[in-house]
Amino acid sequence: MMNRTNDEHLDAYLTGDVSLEDLPEALQAEERLLFGAMAMLREDVRAPASLKGAVMAEIARRPRSRWRAMVDWLVRPRTVRLSPAMGLGFAVAAVAVLALLPDGRLIPGSGDPAAAVSEAAPVLTRFVFVAPEASQVTLTGDWVSWDTEGIRLTQLRGSDVWTVDVPVPPGVHEYSFIVDGSEWRPDPLAGEPVDDGFGRANSVLMVAASEA
């Protein structure tokens, strides 16, 4: 049998490949100690009885607007399944629509196709963030699908200023800085942040297409 290090045993245990009983005795004892200690905090704390009433009163006071529900419905992530025949149908329809556009242009009124492509070219955008206490600052936003690894900012030597230049596609984007890998913060240098609906505030950036 292969000899595993404690770290490998722990890795397999945390992944769920082996059970607690399969761990070496010393590791088992440590885990039991931790579970036992944490169990002391796992008391039967219940939400205050008034919580549900407060939530329902707030919901009744400001019900969901039909407009908000429609916007949310439009942006709801969903899986679309197409049969090969339907896929082919969509492709034929898309080609037909393009063929019907005057002069064979990709976008009505946009001039030649090359110009249409250059309009969508990303624009180098500078982001600046002041964070005296940070050891790492990253940037994330909708144009990178909110990648939580983010784009690292560089700290200007001898200062609390962090900066990075990033190519951003033209359009309106939401973004946020992440301090030390976990603390999401809107950009204080941007305008009023917007509520993302999930408990965080995002900053809004408008990137104009660069001149061709």
């Binding site: 769920g16 931790l34 939400a47 407060a54 939530v55 329902m56 707030e58 976990s182 999930f198 505030a201």
Partner: protein
Amino acid sequence: MHTLSDKELVERARAGNRGAFGTLVERYQDPLFRYARHMGFGEADARDILQDAFVRAFRHLERCGDPDRFDGWLFKITANLCRTAASKGANREEHGLDEVMLLETDPDPAEAAEAASRRRRIKAALEDLPADQREAAVLFYIQGYGVREIAELADASQSAIKMRLKRARESLKAALGPLGDEGTSA
């Protein structure tokens, strides 16, 4: 009696049935409240966070892509609100769970005081962890989630969660070591 699934309740709430959403509130308020409390928030702050989370969830129900996983979606909203509140310093409660339990659970004052002292040490060790490690430790050791589920809830990779748990357990072991002699076996 047929208990409605999360999916059925979400669909009814989306159609405007507030009572259906009330059932979802009842279903998840206790585990989420425990989570907020274990993340270091006092009762009033934890209550405010949950109220905000449920109201946001109701307003944005259409964004819940998979109503069968409503619980995970709601947890993410709550966890984000906890992180935001923590960054504003709201998770430093004036009196902890231990004092509340001391008053409520143990009739013997000496035993209660000793138990409260042990809980205080454990709680302090947990609170000293960086927020991402504390979140992983609370979900794994207290709320019983697996690494894969925690990774989904925390929007992180499984390897990142394992690393957080390993670092958390090292810190907790160092802080709690002597407790092993005091009989904390569950």
